[in-house]
Protein backbone atom coordinates (compact mmCIF):
# COMPACT_ATOMS: atom_id res chain seq x y z
CA UNK A 1 0.00 0.00 0.00
CA UNK A 2 2.81 2.39 0.88
CA UNK A 3 4.15 2.30 -2.70
CA UNK A 4 0.87 3.65 -4.09
CA UNK A 5 0.98 6.67 -1.75
CA UNK A 6 2.98 8.49 -4.43
CA UNK A 7 1.40 9.74 -7.64
CA UNK A 8 2.83 7.34 -10.26
CA UNK A 9 2.73 10.12 -12.86
CA UNK A 10 5.04 12.44 -10.86
CA UNK A 11 8.29 10.97 -12.11
CA UNK A 12 7.28 11.36 -15.77
CA UNK A 13 6.25 14.96 -15.22
CA UNK A 14 9.49 15.82 -13.44
CA UNK A 15 11.50 14.25 -16.26
CA UNK A 16 9.58 16.25 -18.85
CA UNK A 17 10.24 19.48 -16.95
CA UNK A 18 13.99 18.82 -16.65
CA UNK A 19 14.14 17.83 -20.32
CA UNK A 20 12.35 21.01 -21.40
CA UNK A 21 14.83 23.20 -19.49
CA UNK A 22 17.79 21.22 -20.89
CA UNK A 23 16.56 21.82 -24.44
CA UNK A 24 15.36 25.42 -24.11
CA UNK A 25 18.38 26.90 -22.27
CA UNK A 26 21.03 26.13 -24.94
CA UNK A 27 18.58 27.19 -27.66
CA UNK A 28 18.09 30.52 -25.88
CA UNK A 29 21.87 31.02 -25.95
CA UNK A 30 22.00 30.22 -29.67
CA UNK A 31 19.14 32.61 -30.42
CA UNK A 32 21.13 35.43 -28.74
CA UNK A 33 17.98 36.94 -27.29
CA UNK A 34 18.71 39.17 -24.31
CA UNK A 35 15.63 40.96 -22.97
CA UNK A 36 17.80 43.37 -20.95
CA UNK A 37 18.92 45.08 -24.18
CA UNK A 38 15.31 46.17 -24.76
CA UNK A 39 15.35 48.29 -21.63
CA UNK A 40 18.73 49.88 -22.09
CA UNK A 41 18.30 53.70 -21.86
CA UNK A 42 20.05 54.45 -25.16
CA UNK A 43 18.08 51.83 -27.04
CA UNK A 44 14.81 53.05 -25.55
CA UNK A 45 15.56 56.57 -26.80
CA UNK A 46 16.31 55.26 -30.32
CA UNK A 47 13.09 53.25 -30.26
CA UNK A 48 11.11 56.24 -29.04
CA UNK A 49 12.56 58.42 -31.78
CA UNK A 50 11.70 55.84 -34.43
CA UNK A 51 8.13 55.38 -33.17
CA UNK A 52 7.80 59.17 -32.84
CA UNK A 53 8.16 59.56 -36.61
CA UNK A 54 4.99 57.40 -36.95
CA UNK A 55 2.83 60.11 -35.38
CA UNK A 56 0.54 61.55 -36.46
CA UNK A 57 -0.85 59.04 -39.00
CA UNK A 58 -1.02 60.42 -42.55
CA UNK A 59 -4.56 61.46 -43.41
CA UNK A 60 -4.24 63.61 -46.55
CA UNK A 61 -6.82 62.65 -49.16
CA UNK A 62 -4.20 62.00 -51.83
CA UNK A 63 -2.49 59.35 -49.68
CA UNK A 64 -5.81 57.93 -48.46
CA UNK A 65 -6.77 57.35 -52.10
CA UNK A 66 -3.58 55.37 -52.58
CA UNK A 67 -4.23 53.53 -49.33
CA UNK A 68 -7.76 52.56 -50.37
CA UNK A 69 -6.67 51.19 -53.72
CA UNK A 70 -3.73 49.32 -52.13
CA UNK A 71 -6.08 47.85 -49.49
CA UNK A 72 -8.40 46.68 -52.24
CA UNK A 73 -5.39 45.12 -54.01
CA UNK A 74 -4.36 43.32 -50.83
CA UNK A 75 -7.88 42.05 -50.18
CA UNK A 76 -8.13 40.85 -53.77
CA UNK A 77 -4.76 39.07 -53.61
CA UNK A 78 -5.63 37.37 -50.32
CA UNK A 79 -9.16 36.38 -51.31
CA UNK A 80 -8.43 35.12 -54.82
CA UNK A 81 -5.26 33.47 -53.50
CA UNK A 82 -7.25 31.57 -50.85
CA UNK A 83 -9.97 30.67 -53.36
CA UNK A 84 -7.42 29.16 -55.75
CA UNK A 85 -5.66 27.51 -52.80
CA UNK A 86 -8.93 25.81 -51.88
CA UNK A 87 -9.25 24.49 -55.43
CA UNK A 88 -5.86 22.84 -54.95
CA UNK A 89 -6.42 21.82 -51.33
CA UNK A 90 -9.84 20.13 -51.46
CA UNK A 91 -8.91 17.31 -53.87
CA UNK A 92 -5.53 16.83 -52.19
CA UNK A 93 -7.13 16.65 -48.74
CA UNK A 94 -9.72 14.13 -49.93
CA UNK A 95 -6.99 12.02 -51.50
CA UNK A 96 -4.77 12.08 -48.43
CA UNK A 97 -7.31 11.62 -45.62
CA UNK A 98 -7.95 8.12 -44.29
CA UNK A 99 -11.40 9.01 -42.98
CA UNK A 100 -13.18 8.16 -46.23
CA UNK A 101 -11.39 4.88 -46.80
CA UNK A 102 -13.86 2.08 -47.51
CA UNK A 103 -11.10 -0.51 -47.21
CA UNK A 104 -10.49 0.54 -43.61
CA UNK A 105 -13.98 -0.64 -42.67
CA UNK A 106 -12.89 -4.25 -42.63
CA UNK A 107 -9.22 -3.63 -41.93
CA UNK A 108 -8.06 -4.79 -45.35
CA UNK A 109 -4.85 -3.25 -46.60
CA UNK A 110 -5.19 -1.74 -50.05
CA UNK A 111 -1.67 -0.98 -51.28
CA UNK A 112 -2.96 1.10 -54.20
CA UNK A 113 -5.03 3.53 -52.13
CA UNK A 114 -2.26 3.76 -49.54
CA UNK A 115 0.20 4.65 -52.33
CA UNK A 116 -2.16 7.36 -53.62
CA UNK A 117 -2.39 8.75 -50.08
CA UNK A 118 1.39 8.87 -49.73
CA UNK A 119 1.73 10.65 -53.11
CA UNK A 120 -0.92 13.22 -52.20
CA UNK A 121 0.78 13.86 -48.87
CA UNK A 122 4.13 14.22 -50.59
CA UNK A 123 2.75 16.75 -53.06
CA UNK A 124 1.17 18.67 -50.17
CA UNK A 125 4.54 18.77 -48.46
CA UNK A 126 6.32 20.13 -51.52
CA UNK A 127 3.67 22.82 -52.07
CA UNK A 128 3.93 24.20 -48.55
CA UNK A 129 7.62 23.49 -48.05
CA UNK A 130 8.76 26.51 -50.07
CA UNK A 131 7.83 29.84 -48.40
CA UNK A 132 5.36 32.02 -50.30
CA UNK A 133 7.94 34.82 -50.39
CA UNK A 134 10.22 32.64 -52.55
CA UNK A 135 7.34 31.73 -54.86
CA UNK A 136 6.50 35.44 -55.09
CA UNK A 137 10.08 36.24 -56.16
CA UNK A 138 9.78 33.55 -58.84
CA UNK A 139 6.38 34.67 -60.09
CA UNK A 140 7.35 38.36 -60.19
CA UNK A 141 9.78 37.31 -62.93
CA UNK A 142 6.93 35.61 -64.82
CA UNK A 143 3.96 37.92 -64.26
CA UNK A 144 5.98 41.11 -63.71
CA UNK A 145 5.45 43.52 -60.78
CA UNK A 146 1.89 43.49 -59.44
CA UNK A 147 -0.79 41.45 -57.67
CA UNK A 148 -0.80 38.45 -60.05
CA UNK A 149 2.52 37.17 -58.67
CA UNK A 150 1.16 37.39 -55.12
CA UNK A 151 -1.98 35.47 -56.06
CA UNK A 152 0.00 32.64 -57.67
CA UNK A 153 2.40 32.39 -54.73
CA UNK A 154 -0.44 32.31 -52.21
CA UNK A 155 -2.42 29.72 -54.18
CA UNK A 156 0.50 27.30 -54.19
CA UNK A 157 1.77 27.60 -50.59
CA UNK A 158 -1.64 27.97 -48.99
CA UNK A 159 -3.01 25.17 -51.16
CA UNK A 160 -0.47 22.87 -49.50
CA UNK A 161 -1.17 24.18 -45.98
CA UNK A 162 -4.95 23.99 -46.35
CA UNK A 163 -4.72 20.46 -47.78
CA UNK A 164 -2.66 19.28 -44.81
CA UNK A 165 -4.90 20.80 -42.17
CA UNK A 166 -8.16 19.89 -43.97
CA UNK A 167 -7.00 16.27 -44.04
CA UNK A 168 -6.13 16.45 -40.32
CA UNK A 169 -9.46 18.02 -39.41
CA UNK A 170 -11.30 15.34 -41.37
CA UNK A 171 -9.34 12.64 -39.56
CA UNK A 172 -9.78 14.05 -36.06
CA UNK A 173 -13.55 14.57 -36.38
CA UNK A 174 -16.08 12.11 -35.03
CA UNK A 175 -16.04 9.41 -37.68
CA UNK A 176 -18.98 7.31 -36.50
CA UNK A 177 -21.54 8.90 -38.89
CA UNK A 178 -19.16 8.48 -41.83
CA UNK A 179 -18.34 4.87 -41.01
CA UNK A 180 -22.02 4.05 -40.60
CA UNK A 181 -22.77 5.49 -44.04
CA UNK A 182 -19.84 3.68 -45.68
CA UNK A 183 -20.93 0.48 -43.93
CA UNK A 184 -24.38 0.95 -45.46
CA UNK A 185 -22.97 1.04 -48.99
CA UNK A 186 -22.67 4.80 -49.48
CA UNK A 187 -19.96 6.11 -51.79
CA UNK A 188 -17.04 8.14 -50.46
CA UNK A 189 -18.23 11.54 -51.65
CA UNK A 190 -21.80 10.95 -50.43
CA UNK A 191 -20.40 9.90 -47.04
CA UNK A 192 -18.33 13.10 -47.05
CA UNK A 193 -21.39 15.25 -47.64
CA UNK A 194 -23.79 13.44 -45.28
CA UNK A 195 -21.46 12.22 -42.56
CA UNK A 196 -18.15 14.04 -42.40
CA UNK A 197 -18.80 17.65 -43.45
CA UNK A 198 -21.72 18.16 -41.02
CA UNK A 199 -19.34 17.15 -38.21
CA UNK A 200 -16.27 19.06 -39.39
CA UNK A 201 -17.71 22.11 -41.17
CA UNK A 202 -17.27 24.65 -38.36
CA UNK A 203 -13.62 23.77 -37.89
CA UNK A 204 -13.01 23.80 -41.64
CA UNK A 205 -14.65 27.22 -42.01
CA UNK A 206 -12.86 28.78 -39.08
CA UNK A 207 -9.48 27.46 -40.19
CA UNK A 208 -10.07 28.73 -43.74
CA UNK A 209 -10.96 32.21 -42.49
CA UNK A 210 -7.91 32.19 -40.22
CA UNK A 211 -5.81 31.29 -43.27
CA UNK A 212 -7.40 34.16 -45.15
CA UNK A 213 -6.27 36.47 -42.35
CA UNK A 214 -2.75 35.00 -42.67
CA UNK A 215 -2.98 35.52 -46.44
CA UNK A 216 -3.69 39.22 -45.89
CA UNK A 217 -0.49 39.47 -43.82
CA UNK A 218 1.48 37.35 -46.29
CA UNK A 219 0.33 39.45 -49.23
CA UNK A 220 1.66 42.49 -47.38
CA UNK A 221 5.07 40.86 -46.95
CA UNK A 222 5.08 39.83 -50.61
CA UNK A 223 4.33 43.43 -51.51
CA UNK A 224 7.85 44.27 -50.34
CA UNK A 225 9.22 42.14 -53.18
CA UNK A 226 6.96 43.82 -55.70
CA UNK A 227 3.78 41.78 -55.55
CA UNK A 228 1.53 44.84 -55.16
CA UNK A 229 -0.93 45.90 -52.48
CA UNK A 230 -0.33 47.42 -49.05
CA UNK A 231 3.14 45.91 -48.78
CA UNK A 232 4.38 47.72 -51.83
CA UNK A 233 2.91 50.97 -50.50
CA UNK A 234 4.53 50.31 -47.10
CA UNK A 235 7.85 49.66 -48.79
CA UNK A 236 7.66 53.00 -50.60
CA UNK A 237 6.65 54.90 -47.44
CA UNK A 238 9.45 53.35 -45.40
CA UNK A 239 12.01 54.11 -48.08
CA UNK A 240 10.89 57.73 -48.07
CA UNK A 241 11.11 57.68 -44.25
CA UNK A 242 7.46 58.71 -44.07
CA UNK A 243 6.43 57.34 -40.65
CA UNK A 244 2.94 58.84 -40.75
CA UNK A 245 2.06 56.93 -43.89
CA UNK A 246 3.49 53.71 -42.45
CA UNK A 247 1.38 54.28 -39.36
CA UNK A 248 -1.82 54.68 -41.42
CA UNK A 249 -0.97 51.46 -43.25
CA UNK A 250 -0.41 49.61 -39.95
CA UNK A 251 -3.78 50.86 -38.68
CA UNK A 252 -5.35 49.50 -41.86
CA UNK A 253 -3.76 46.07 -41.19
CA UNK A 254 -5.21 46.08 -37.73
CA UNK A 255 -8.66 46.87 -39.04
CA UNK A 256 -8.36 44.09 -41.64
CA UNK A 257 -7.41 41.54 -38.98
CA UNK A 258 -10.30 42.66 -36.81
CA UNK A 259 -12.61 42.30 -39.78
CA UNK A 260 -11.30 38.77 -40.39
CA UNK A 261 -12.02 37.93 -36.75
CA UNK A 262 -15.56 39.22 -36.99
CA UNK A 263 -16.11 37.38 -40.27
CA UNK A 264 -14.83 34.14 -38.75
CA UNK A 265 -17.10 34.46 -35.73
CA UNK A 266 -20.09 35.23 -37.94
CA UNK A 267 -19.42 32.34 -40.32
CA UNK A 268 -19.02 29.91 -37.41
CA UNK A 269 -22.40 31.00 -36.09
CA UNK A 270 -23.91 30.34 -39.52
CA UNK A 271 -22.71 26.74 -39.76
CA UNK A 272 -23.45 26.01 -36.13
Amino acid sequence: MSASQHDPAARGRATALVLAVCVLWPLLQIAQFEPAVLFDAGNLATLGGFLGTFLPPATDTFFLGFLASATLDTLAIATIGIALAMLIAVPLALLSTRSLSIGRLDGRLRPVSEAIRVCARGLTLVLRGVPELVWALVFVRIFGLGPAAGVAALAITYGGMLAKVYAEILESSDLSPTRALLAAGSGRLAALGYGLLPVASDELVSYTVYRWECAVRASVVMGFVGAGGLGQLMDQSMKMLNGGEACSILITFLLLVMAADALSAWLRRQVR
Binding site: D106, D174, A183, G185, S186, G187, G193, Y194, G195, P198
Partner: protein
Protein backbone atom coordinates in the same frame (compact mmCIF):
# COMPACT_ATOMS: atom_id res chain seq x y z
CA UNK B 1 -30.80 -16.12 -46.51
CA UNK B 2 -27.72 -16.02 -44.31
CA UNK B 3 -25.53 -19.00 -43.64
CA UNK B 4 -22.39 -19.31 -41.60
CA UNK B 5 -20.34 -22.49 -41.39
CA UNK B 6 -17.56 -23.01 -38.85
CA UNK B 7 -17.11 -19.26 -38.95
CA UNK B 8 -14.49 -17.70 -36.72
CA UNK B 9 -12.97 -14.27 -36.16
CA UNK B 10 -9.60 -14.06 -34.47
CA UNK B 11 -7.92 -10.80 -33.53
CA UNK B 12 -4.23 -10.13 -33.85
CA UNK B 13 -3.53 -11.16 -30.25
CA UNK B 14 -4.99 -14.61 -31.01
CA UNK B 15 -8.15 -13.94 -29.00
CA UNK B 16 -11.18 -15.38 -30.78
CA UNK B 17 -14.25 -13.15 -30.88
CA UNK B 18 -16.17 -15.86 -32.74
CA UNK B 19 -15.20 -19.50 -32.58
CA UNK B 20 -16.72 -21.99 -34.99
CA UNK B 21 -20.20 -20.53 -35.41
CA UNK B 22 -22.69 -22.54 -37.53
CA UNK B 23 -25.86 -20.66 -38.25
CA UNK B 24 -28.53 -20.41 -40.88
CA UNK B 25 -31.20 -17.74 -40.96
CA UNK B 26 -34.06 -17.86 -43.46
CA UNK B 27 -35.60 -14.76 -45.07
CA UNK B 28 -38.25 -13.15 -42.88
CA UNK B 29 -36.95 -14.55 -39.60
CA UNK B 30 -36.75 -12.22 -36.62
CA UNK B 31 -33.80 -13.24 -34.49
CA UNK B 32 -32.62 -11.88 -31.15
CA UNK B 33 -28.98 -12.29 -30.11
CA UNK B 34 -28.45 -12.38 -26.36
CA UNK B 35 -25.48 -13.10 -24.19
CA UNK B 36 -23.13 -11.47 -21.71
CA UNK B 37 -20.92 -8.54 -22.63
CA UNK B 38 -18.01 -9.62 -24.80
CA UNK B 39 -19.83 -12.73 -26.07
CA UNK B 40 -19.29 -11.75 -29.72
CA UNK B 41 -22.72 -10.30 -30.55
CA UNK B 42 -21.34 -7.14 -32.16
CA UNK B 43 -18.69 -9.11 -34.04
CA UNK B 44 -21.32 -11.50 -35.38
CA UNK B 45 -23.48 -8.60 -36.58
CA UNK B 46 -20.50 -6.94 -38.26
CA UNK B 47 -19.63 -10.18 -40.02
CA UNK B 48 -23.21 -10.60 -41.25
CA UNK B 49 -23.22 -6.98 -42.46
CA UNK B 50 -20.13 -7.66 -44.58
CA UNK B 51 -18.19 -5.09 -42.55
CA UNK B 52 -15.77 -7.47 -40.88
CA UNK B 53 -13.94 -10.16 -42.73
CA UNK B 54 -14.01 -13.51 -40.93
CA UNK B 55 -10.66 -15.17 -40.40
CA UNK B 56 -12.01 -18.67 -40.89
CA UNK B 57 -15.05 -20.60 -42.13
CA UNK B 58 -17.67 -19.77 -44.74
CA UNK B 59 -20.14 -16.93 -44.93
CA UNK B 60 -22.94 -16.62 -47.49
CA UNK B 61 -25.32 -13.70 -47.81
CA UNK B 62 -28.06 -14.25 -50.40
CA UNK B 63 -26.06 -17.19 -51.68
CA UNK B 64 -22.95 -15.06 -52.26
CA UNK B 65 -19.66 -14.88 -50.45
CA UNK B 66 -19.34 -11.10 -49.92
CA UNK B 67 -15.54 -11.29 -49.81
CA UNK B 68 -15.41 -12.85 -53.26
CA UNK B 69 -17.23 -9.84 -54.76
CA UNK B 70 -15.49 -6.87 -56.31
CA UNK B 71 -15.58 -3.51 -54.53
CA UNK B 72 -18.65 -2.20 -56.39
CA UNK B 73 -20.69 -5.37 -55.86
CA UNK B 74 -19.73 -5.39 -52.17
CA UNK B 75 -20.85 -1.77 -51.88
CA UNK B 76 -24.17 -2.71 -53.51
CA UNK B 77 -24.60 -5.59 -51.08
CA UNK B 78 -23.95 -3.31 -48.11
CA UNK B 79 -26.55 -0.90 -49.48
CA UNK B 80 -29.20 -3.63 -49.14
CA UNK B 81 -28.39 -4.17 -45.46
CA UNK B 82 -29.80 -1.75 -42.89
CA UNK B 83 -27.98 -1.16 -39.63
CA UNK B 84 -28.88 0.31 -36.29
CA UNK B 85 -26.58 1.15 -33.42
CA UNK B 86 -26.87 1.86 -29.72
CA UNK B 87 -25.75 5.45 -30.29
CA UNK B 88 -27.39 6.79 -33.46
CA UNK B 89 -24.50 7.76 -35.79
CA UNK B 90 -26.06 11.06 -36.85
CA UNK B 91 -24.11 14.33 -36.94
CA UNK B 92 -25.59 16.70 -34.32
CA UNK B 93 -25.73 19.64 -36.72
CA UNK B 94 -27.48 17.71 -39.47
CA UNK B 95 -31.14 18.38 -40.12
CA UNK B 96 -33.62 15.58 -39.46
CA UNK B 97 -34.62 15.39 -43.12
CA UNK B 98 -31.02 14.98 -44.28
CA UNK B 99 -30.40 12.30 -41.64
CA UNK B 100 -33.42 10.35 -42.89
CA UNK B 101 -32.64 10.74 -46.59
CA UNK B 102 -29.09 9.45 -45.91
CA UNK B 103 -30.74 6.03 -45.62
CA UNK B 104 -30.79 5.70 -49.39
CA UNK B 105 -27.22 6.83 -50.10
CA UNK B 106 -26.33 3.22 -50.90
CA UNK B 107 -28.98 3.20 -53.63
CA UNK B 108 -28.75 6.73 -55.00
CA UNK B 109 -26.31 7.81 -57.68
CA UNK B 110 -23.87 10.51 -56.56
CA UNK B 111 -25.63 13.33 -58.44
CA UNK B 112 -28.82 12.60 -56.55
CA UNK B 113 -27.04 12.56 -53.19
CA UNK B 114 -25.38 15.91 -53.93
CA UNK B 115 -28.54 17.50 -55.33
CA UNK B 116 -30.46 16.38 -52.26
CA UNK B 117 -27.98 18.17 -50.01
CA UNK B 118 -28.71 21.41 -51.85
CA UNK B 119 -32.46 20.88 -51.91
CA UNK B 120 -34.04 17.75 -50.37
CA UNK B 121 -35.46 15.79 -53.30
CA UNK B 122 -37.81 13.50 -51.39
CA UNK B 123 -39.46 15.58 -48.68
CA UNK B 124 -42.62 13.47 -48.80
CA UNK B 125 -40.70 10.23 -48.42
CA UNK B 126 -38.83 11.51 -45.38
CA UNK B 127 -42.07 12.84 -43.86
CA UNK B 128 -43.75 9.48 -44.36
CA UNK B 129 -40.83 7.65 -42.74
CA UNK B 130 -40.99 9.97 -39.70
CA UNK B 131 -44.78 9.95 -39.35
CA UNK B 132 -45.07 6.68 -37.33
CA UNK B 133 -42.80 8.22 -34.68
CA UNK B 134 -44.64 11.54 -34.31
CA UNK B 135 -41.60 13.33 -35.66
CA UNK B 136 -42.96 14.53 -39.00
CA UNK B 137 -43.21 18.12 -37.78
CA UNK B 138 -39.52 18.06 -36.74
CA UNK B 139 -38.50 17.49 -40.38
CA UNK B 140 -36.47 20.67 -40.72
CA UNK B 141 -35.13 20.82 -37.16
CA UNK B 142 -31.55 20.07 -36.36
CA UNK B 143 -30.75 16.74 -34.74
CA UNK B 144 -29.07 18.37 -31.72
CA UNK B 145 -32.47 19.79 -30.76
CA UNK B 146 -33.85 16.27 -30.29
CA UNK B 147 -33.68 14.08 -27.20
CA UNK B 148 -31.75 10.82 -27.20
CA UNK B 149 -34.94 8.81 -27.64
CA UNK B 150 -36.11 11.01 -30.50
CA UNK B 151 -32.72 10.68 -32.17
CA UNK B 152 -32.89 6.89 -32.01
CA UNK B 153 -36.33 7.13 -33.66
CA UNK B 154 -34.83 9.31 -36.40
CA UNK B 155 -32.29 6.50 -36.92
CA UNK B 156 -35.23 4.11 -37.11
CA UNK B 157 -36.95 6.35 -39.67
CA UNK B 158 -33.73 6.36 -41.70
CA UNK B 159 -33.79 2.57 -41.63
CA UNK B 160 -37.46 2.48 -42.72
CA UNK B 161 -36.65 4.90 -45.52
CA UNK B 162 -33.85 2.62 -46.69
CA UNK B 163 -36.23 -0.39 -46.75
CA UNK B 164 -33.47 -3.00 -46.52
CA UNK B 165 -34.18 -6.71 -46.90
CA UNK B 166 -31.87 -7.44 -43.97
CA UNK B 167 -31.81 -5.37 -40.78
CA UNK B 168 -28.90 -5.74 -38.35
CA UNK B 169 -29.42 -3.90 -35.09
CA UNK B 170 -26.62 -3.73 -32.52
CA UNK B 171 -28.10 -2.94 -29.10
CA UNK B 172 -30.69 -0.64 -30.67
CA UNK B 173 -32.63 -0.10 -27.44
CA UNK B 174 -29.97 -0.34 -24.74
CA UNK B 175 -29.74 3.44 -24.25
CA UNK B 176 -33.51 3.94 -24.04
CA UNK B 177 -35.92 3.86 -21.11
CA UNK B 178 -37.97 0.64 -20.83
CA UNK B 179 -41.15 1.99 -22.44
CA UNK B 180 -39.32 3.52 -25.37
CA UNK B 181 -37.13 0.43 -25.66
CA UNK B 182 -40.20 -1.75 -26.07
CA UNK B 183 -41.79 0.60 -28.61
CA UNK B 184 -38.60 0.67 -30.72
CA UNK B 185 -38.27 -3.13 -30.53
CA UNK B 186 -41.92 -3.48 -31.54
CA UNK B 187 -41.52 -1.03 -34.42
CA UNK B 188 -38.49 -2.94 -35.74
CA UNK B 189 -40.41 -6.22 -35.59
CA UNK B 190 -43.62 -4.82 -37.10
CA UNK B 191 -41.71 -3.30 -40.01
CA UNK B 192 -39.83 -6.56 -40.65
CA UNK B 193 -43.07 -8.56 -40.51
CA UNK B 194 -44.90 -6.19 -42.84
CA UNK B 195 -42.14 -6.19 -45.46
CA UNK B 196 -41.05 -9.79 -44.98
CA UNK B 197 -37.55 -8.53 -44.15
CA UNK B 198 -35.06 -10.41 -42.00
CA UNK B 199 -34.29 -8.83 -38.63
CA UNK B 200 -31.36 -9.69 -36.40
CA UNK B 201 -30.91 -7.66 -33.23
CA UNK B 202 -28.61 -7.98 -30.25
CA UNK B 203 -30.28 -7.12 -26.97
CA UNK B 204 -29.45 -6.86 -23.30
CA UNK B 205 -33.11 -6.90 -22.33
CA UNK B 206 -33.86 -10.64 -22.30
CA UNK B 207 -37.61 -10.17 -21.78
CA UNK B 208 -37.84 -8.12 -24.99
CA UNK B 209 -35.99 -10.86 -26.87
CA UNK B 210 -38.46 -13.45 -25.60
CA UNK B 211 -41.62 -11.44 -26.14
CA UNK B 212 -40.97 -9.75 -29.50
CA UNK B 213 -38.70 -12.02 -31.52
CA UNK B 214 -39.48 -15.42 -33.01
CA UNK B 215 -36.07 -16.97 -32.53
CA UNK B 216 -33.44 -16.40 -29.86
CA UNK B 217 -29.74 -17.20 -30.13
CA UNK B 218 -27.62 -17.24 -26.99
CA UNK B 219 -23.93 -16.43 -27.46
CA UNK B 220 -21.13 -16.79 -24.98
CA UNK B 221 -17.40 -16.53 -25.50
CA UNK B 222 -17.79 -16.58 -29.27
CA UNK B 223 -19.87 -19.75 -29.41
CA UNK B 224 -23.55 -20.45 -29.80
CA UNK B 225 -24.96 -21.79 -26.52
CA UNK B 226 -28.55 -22.23 -27.69
CA UNK B 227 -30.58 -21.43 -30.81
CA UNK B 228 -34.29 -21.96 -30.36
CA UNK B 229 -37.74 -20.49 -30.93
CA UNK B 230 -38.47 -17.97 -28.20
CA UNK B 231 -41.42 -20.03 -26.97
CA UNK B 232 -39.20 -23.00 -26.13
CA UNK B 233 -36.75 -21.11 -23.95
CA UNK B 234 -36.94 -21.52 -20.22
CA UNK B 235 -35.60 -19.52 -17.30
CA UNK B 236 -32.92 -22.18 -16.77
CA UNK B 237 -31.48 -21.62 -20.28
CA UNK B 238 -31.19 -17.88 -19.66
CA UNK B 239 -29.66 -18.32 -16.23
CA UNK B 240 -27.12 -20.79 -17.59
CA UNK B 241 -26.19 -18.33 -20.36
CA UNK B 242 -25.35 -15.55 -17.91
CA UNK B 243 -24.13 -17.80 -15.07
CA UNK B 244 -20.88 -16.79 -13.42
CA UNK B 245 -20.63 -13.48 -15.22
CA UNK B 246 -19.36 -10.84 -12.78
CA UNK B 247 -21.66 -7.89 -12.21
CA UNK B 248 -19.28 -5.38 -13.69
CA UNK B 249 -18.66 -7.34 -16.86
CA UNK B 250 -15.42 -7.12 -18.70
CA UNK B 251 -15.34 -4.17 -21.09
CA UNK B 252 -16.47 -4.82 -24.64
CA UNK B 253 -13.93 -6.54 -26.82
CA UNK B 254 -11.47 -4.61 -28.88
CA UNK B 255 -13.48 -2.68 -31.44
CA UNK B 256 -11.59 -1.22 -34.38
CA UNK B 257 -14.46 1.23 -34.96
CA UNK B 258 -14.06 2.89 -31.60
CA UNK B 259 -12.59 6.38 -31.96
CA UNK B 260 -8.93 6.16 -31.10
CA UNK B 261 -6.99 8.84 -29.32
CA UNK B 262 -7.35 11.93 -31.45
CA UNK B 263 -4.22 13.68 -32.59
CA UNK B 264 -4.06 17.32 -31.62
CA UNK B 265 -4.13 19.57 -34.61
CA UNK B 266 -1.28 21.82 -35.37
CA UNK B 267 -2.68 25.22 -36.22
CA UNK B 268 0.48 27.21 -36.69
CA UNK B 269 1.62 28.63 -39.98
Amino acid sequence: MISLAALSVAYAGGRRALDGVDLSIAPGERVALIGPSGAGKTTLLRVMGANLRPTGGQLQLDGLDPWALNARQLQGLRGRVGKMYQAPPIPPRQRVITAVLAGRLGQWPLWRAVASLIYPLDIDGARAALAPFDLAERLFDRCDQLSGGQLQRVALARLFYQQPQLVLADEPVSALDPTLARSVAVALNEDAKRRGATLIASLHAVELALSEFSRVIGLREGRIVFDRPAAQLGVADIEALYAGVPYASAPEAHNPDAPSARPRLTRCA
